[in-house]
Structures are given as structure tokens and as C-alpha cells.
């Protein structure tokens, strides 16, 4: 940010976007899934699975340094050739679309279960997609600016809600430490998918004003989000005990509902609602943008905005019909997603990096639509 008209993301903004993207919706339910495997050691699992995020961030940012002006869809084609590259591009477009359908569905499910049980799910899904379409259409720069407000709010609300629970937290509930290492690893695998969401950097790097900061942004983002998730997990374990956390659908929501400071400060679950809607918006918009950009680049369109509407319809449709109930989502995310998502977020980037290094491929600017289409620069 050295003058009035920096039209791109700074490294800090990219990092904040990564934090919100990983943290926002994950924090509400993650402790349950991890605790199901690791019991009171859930927080160790979260710590461990941060490694996945760090590795993904490193892979993507290293690739980004080789191809600073290209997204993963574009350099995938550069590295693998036209046919294979198109396949990889399709995989990424589909991945961003699919992960968003899952997030949107979760988004609606929590609002439905936790706050407004009689409202049809379609209403939540429809409204958030329209609003997220606006966000995606406005582009990463605007999203980053909005996130500059939202992330501090999220962290503040999170901090306040956890602080209010100090009187109910029982440190002894975290003992015995590292009881069952296998469980910790299984728990880490269950949460690995969420940390690998840092893959969105692969679509954001061309929008950075300093591409060299991508690695820092990715790794720091994963760490900040990871430690926040760890804090939530620790508190959930301390308040509910390792066994019971595993049985809760939305442990963080349950945490805010149980806050009671001398009977005066109670009923603060609107904190969870605020985090959920604000953070959920950023997360859904970011993936929405990634899906729109990836698909338009795959189709060779000039403007990513032209795919915003069809992508939105697809997300809405798929998120409704894909799952029958909330248990399918959680079982998908903790098991099937490992095999469906991790190869895309970890395996493919690793493969691309190895091939690019071997073949010595580098640089080059893409002719396909860049995120710069998003800027309505008027003057200076």
C-alpha cells in the first residue's frame, strides 16, 4: 500500500483472507469431529493437521512464484499440456464449486437447526448465494476490504465468547495428555481437509501486489486460523469434556449457549450467529470467486463475471440435492473428503511442482481473464 490506488491485494490482506476462509465456518463444528477420534487430545490433532495446511500453502506459493501471473488452472495447462491440463483445470473448477456446495449447505443447516427451525433450508441457501454472488462479482479486492472489517470482528467475538467461558472451563479435562497417538492422527486427518482450504491462494496469487508474500500469507494464515481453532477445541473440551464434545453437532454454538457469568451475562449465542454469517459470507464468496474464475479460465472466457450467475445456480442446486441430511455432510467431510479433496489440494499441486521443476517451466502471463477485470479504476 504505497499510494492511493493500489488495485491489488497486499500480503496482509491475502493472509487475512486465508484466515477467514479456514476459520469462519470450521470453528463451529470442527471440535466435535476431531474429538470423536481423539477425545480430550483433540487440540493436539488440530495442531498436527496444521502441517497439512502449511505444506499446501508452501506448494501453492512455490508454484505461484514460478507462475506469478497465472492461476493453477492456467499453469496446470502450461505444465501438463493442453489435454491433461484441461482435465486438471476441470478438476479445480469442480473442486471449488463442490466444496462451496458443502459449505453453503452447512451454512444453512446451522441456521436452521440452531436459530430458525421452521424456515425452509432453501431460503438460507438462496439468500446467501445471492449475497455471495454480489461479493464474488465485486472481486477479491473488495472481498479483502470487507474482510478487513470482518476478520477482526470474528476474532473479537471469538475471544469474548471464550473469555466468558473461563469460569466453566476445567483444565483437568485435557488430561491425560496424548493418551492414544493413533486417535490423534485420525483426528488430524479428519480436520486436514479444512486446513487444505488454503488452496484458494492458488487462485488469488495473480491478484497479489507482491507475489513473494504469498508463502508468508499462506503459512501465517494457516497458523492463525489453526491456533484459533485449537483455542475453540481446547475450550470445548474443557467445558464439555472430551466424550461429550464428540456428541454435539455444533460444539461452538453449544459453547456460546452455555455462557453464564454470575447469571448476568447469558444468552450470547448471537456471537456465534455473527461469526457464522459474517465469516460464512467471506468464505462462500471467496470459494465462489475461485469457482467462477477457474471455470471461466477453463472455458477461455475473457471475464470471470460472466460465469458468476451459472455458478451460483449450480451451487444452490447441488447444495440442496447433494445431501439428504446433516450427518451425510459430516461423514462426507471427515471421511470421503479425505480421498476426494486432499489429492486435489495436496497431491496435484505437488505433482505440478515436481513436473514444473523437472521441465524447468517458469513465468509467463496468461491471456485468459485475470482478476483485474474486477477493478473499476476511474482515475489515478
Amino acid at each position: 500500500m504505497n499510494n492511493t490506488s493500489s488495485v491489488r491485494l497486499s500480503g496482509r490482506q491475502a493472509m487475512w483472507l486465508v484466515v477467514t476462509t479456514i476459520l469462519a465456518t470450521t470453528l463451529i463444528f470442527l471440535p466435535a469431529w476431531v474429538a470423536a477420534e481423539a477425545k480430550q487430545d483433540a487440540w493436539l490433532s488440530v495442531l498436527l493437521s496444521m502441517v497439512v495446511g502449511v505444506v499446501t500453502a508452501w506448494l501453492v506459493s512455490t508454484l505461484g512464484r514460478r507462475f506469478p501471473d497465472l492461476t493453477i488452472v492456467q499453469y496446470g495447462e502450461r505444465i501438463l499440456g493442453r489435454v491433461l491440463g484441461k482435465v486438471v483445470g476441470l478438476v479445480y473448477a469442480a473442486f471449488f464449486l463442490h466444496i462451496n456446495t458443502v459449505i453453503v449447505r452447512e451454512f444453512g443447516e446451522l441456521l436452521l437447526t440452531g436459530f430458525m427451525p421452521e424456515t425452509p433450508l432453501v431460503v438460507f441457501i438462496g439468500t446467501i448465494i445471492v449475497v455471495a454472488a454480489y461479493g464474488a462479482w465485486a472481486g477479491p479486492e473488495v472481498l479483502a476490504r470487507v474482510n478487513d472489517f470482518i476478520l477482526p470482528v470474528i476474532l473479537f467475538l471469538l475471544g469474548v465468547s471464550l473469555f466468558l467461558l473461563v469460569n466453566q472451563a476445567n483444565l483437568a479435562a485435557l488430561l491425560p495428555l496424548a493418551e492414544e497417538p493413533a486417535g490423534i492422527v485420525r483426528g488430524a486427518l479428519a480436520s486436514a481437509v479444512f486446513f487444505s482450504e488454503v488452496i484458494i491462494l492458488a487462485m488469488l496469487i495473480p491478484s497479489l501486489n507482491l507475489r513473494s508474500e504469498a508463502a508468508r500469507a499462506g503459512v501465517l494464515g494457516v497458523l492463525v486460523a489453526g491456533f484459533s481453532l485449537m483455542a475453540v477445541t481446547v475450550f470445548a473440551t474443557m467445558v464439555f469434556g472430551g466424550e461429550r464434545v464428540a456428541n454435539l453437532t455444533f460444539p461452538y454454538l453449544a459453547l456460546t449457549r452455555i455462557v453464564s457469568v454470575r447469571g448476568v451475562v447469558e444468552r450470547v449465542e448471537f456471537l456465534a450467529l455473527g461469526i457464522w454469517v459474517l465469516g460464512g459470507f467471506v468464505k462462500i464468496s471467496v470459494f465462489y470467486y475461485a469457482a467462477a474464475l477457474a471455470s471461466s479460465q477453463w472455458l477461455g472466457l475473457r471475464e470471470y463475471r460472466s460465469t458468476v450467475v451459472p455458478i451460483g445456480l449450480a451451487i444452490g442446486f447441488l447444495s440442496v440435492i447433494q445431501f439428504e441430511n446433516i450427518d451425510q455432510i459430516s461423514s462426507f467431510l471427515t471421511t470421503a473428503a479425505l480421498f476426494a479433496y486432499l489429492p486435489v489440494t495436496l497431491g496435484l499441486p505437488a505433482l505440478l511442482l515436481i513436473l514444473a521443476t523437472l521441465r524447468g517451466l517458469k513465468g509467463g502471463s496468461g491471456t485468459a481473464p485475470g482478476p483485474r477485470g474486477a477493478d473499476k479504476e476511474v482515475s489515478p
Binding site: 437447526t113 440452531g114 436459530f115 430458525m116 427451525p117 421452521e118 424456515t119 425452509p120 431460503v123 438462496g126 439468500t127 445471492v130 454472488a133 454480489y134 462479482w137 483437568a172 488430561l175 491425560p176 493418551e179 467445558v239 464439555f240 469434556g241 466424550e243 461429550r244 456428541n247 453449544a254 449457549r257 452455555i258 453464564s260 447469571g263 447469558e266 444468552r267 463475471r305 460472466s306 458468476v308 450467475v309
Partner: protein, 415 residues
Amino acid sequence: MTRFRRSIVLAGLVLTLLLLGTSCWNAVELDRRALVMGVGIDKAKEEGKIALTVQIVKPGQLPTPRRAPGPGPPVWVVTSTGYTVFDAVRNFVLQSGRKLFWAHMVVIVISEEVAREGLAPVLDFFDRDAEPRRLSKVIIAKGIAAKEIMKGQHELETIPAAAIRDLVEGFTSVSTAVSVNLNEFLKRMSAGGVEPVAARIEVVAAEEREKAEEKALQSGDDGGMAEDPRLKAPPRFRVTGAAVFKGDRLAGWLNRPETRGYLWTQGKVVSGIVVLKCPQNEKETIGIELIRSEGEIKPRVQEGRVVAEVKVKAEAHVGDVLCPLDLTKPETLRLLEKRMNTVIENEVRAAFRKAQEGLRADIFGVGAALHRSSPGQWKKLKDRWDEVFPEVQVEIKADAKIRRVNLVLKPAQPK
């Protein structure tokens, strides 16, 4: 661009129409909600059915600054039955017309009968549904139907259920009762190596009524009995002692000293009075006010037996002295501290005796403590912990400190 704009406009229009046309799925005006303040759970007369009794606020009867309260009690007590709790809950609509709103419910009173058969199926609704809070107190009614408790009134509070909640929370000033909310109950229920407890409520007024009736019979003045206002008064309740569970089934009760013995081990004695005998005269007494306590259970496995070391630390003031005692001498205070240690140890021992021999329920969390300190040992013992716990050897170490004697050094004595 314009195309996109138009699509957005279209989407906005469709949404607006959608919202306008079918709005307010969840919007319910306050005067269409029935606010439940407390619920009592009994077994219904019909086999296999549950009877719920709820206290619903009548907002029109509440005193407001602008308006005097209407006639009659400010709550409406209704009973409904069903095969499950939720079934019964829904059946309320048949009687109330308004949908019940559970978010402000403060107490769940469960009859002894239901508690003996297991609470897990009964409490699931309150755990699962989004409206009830896990902060509601779990209370077991001893020797009386939960319905009767719900029908009760309180002289000071307008909402009886809130009064019951206050009774439970008031345990801190005596430390001879427990206060357990739904979260704590379920947490202990689902954890290994520790059993839940719950508050116990019983009737006071019923005994008084009996006495009054007896008196009336003795005097032969049966004509004035009906006019006696005390007889018309609703039953009065007392929260004291504790209900002990094994799993989700009620196993038995702790009396007041045993309850405090249990609370010592948990470090939950906040305040309370310890009565000691005077050193010179065993008939006269001294009241010591507790101000702080810590309790810790350290289990270890020694020669194949589990030994639980219970450490209790307490701090206290001298509250009242009924005998001429010179509190300026340090020895006197030391003597009192010693006697206090004995009292604490006796209470803790009594609690353990009841839990180990009578109820065979590990309410102290000895097993959980063992799990924390030596997970390996616990793994071997946890499957037969029910048999191991009654055999646990208890070592109690109490350490009481009397910090101050308040405003008087020696009590005033007639000369």
C-alpha cells in the same frame, strides 16, 4: 455486465416476493408464545407414558410499573402426557393454543420414580432441541410428584420456577446442597470414572400441615381448621442434600453432612457454617464461617489396591462463640483448627462410606482422576471400575485455617 445486473435485480425481485409471500416462518409475536419457566416430569398413569407439567407465564398478570398485577397467580400450570417428552411437549398445544417457548426455562424437576428408571431418555429432548438451555437446573423431587412442585408458590418471587432456581443456587451459603445444571449432569453422565449428582427438593409445608392437623384434632376444634391460613397456603419446598446417580439412574440420596463431605472433595464448598464444640464445655458450641476451600483427589495404585488421597484445605472466620473463650491466644485458634479438621474428615469419610458401601457410585470422580494421572492403570481398571470403587482405600488430609475472629476478641460475659 448489464445482463448480470439484470440477473441480480431479478434475483432480488424473486427473493423479495418469496419473502413477502411466505415470510415469517419463524416469526412469532411475543403474545403468541407461551413462555415456559419450569418443567416437572412424572410418570403418567397410563403405562409407558410420561407426564410433563409446565409453568407458563401469564404476562398479563405480571406486575408492571404502569399497571397493578391482575388477579390470580402469574403462572399457569398445565400437564400433558405423551410417549416421549417431545410428544408430550407437542400435546401442550392442544391445551394452550400457543406454542411453548422453552428458551427461558430455568428448572427441570424430575420425580424420584422417573429418576430411578433412568434420565437419559427424559433429558434428551432438553439436550437436543435448540430452545431449552443446558443451564437449566436438574432437580430430583424426593417423595413428591414433580407436578406438585410445579404447582407450588413462593411468597417472595412472582414466578415459582425462578424461586426454585434461586433455592438451588442458594446452596453456596450453606454448602449442604448441590447445584447441577443440565450440562454438568450430562457431562458427568457420559464421562467415564465419575457419576452425576443432582439437587434434591422436598416439601416442608406438608409436614407442617400434618402438625397443624394433629393439633387441631387434639384440641377438638375442627371448625376453625378450614380458616387456618397456613392450611390453605401452598406447599413450601426445601432444597437440601443431593441425589446420587449411577449412570443415568437414581441410586440414592446424600444427607446434609454427606453432601458437604462430597463438596469438600470437589473443592466446591464456597461458604457455610461448621459447628464445633467448645473446648471447656462440650455442650456449648462455636460457629465457624467458611470463606474458601480447596479439594483434591489424588488416586494411586498401591499393591494392587487403589488408594485415593483426598486433600482438603479450608479457610474460615469465627462466626459466633457461645462459650467464654479467649481467642487472643494462638493455641485456642490452633485447637479450633484441629477440631475443624476432624469435622471435615468425618464429613468426607461419611460421604465416601455412603457412596462406596450404600450406593456404589463414584460421584467423586476417583476413576476420572486416576484416568488423568495414570492412564495406563485406568485402562486396566475401567471395565470393572464398579467393583473396584467400593474397595478404594481413602486417605483424608484436612488442613483448616482460621484467618480472623471478626470484631470481638472475647465474647461479652455477664459478671
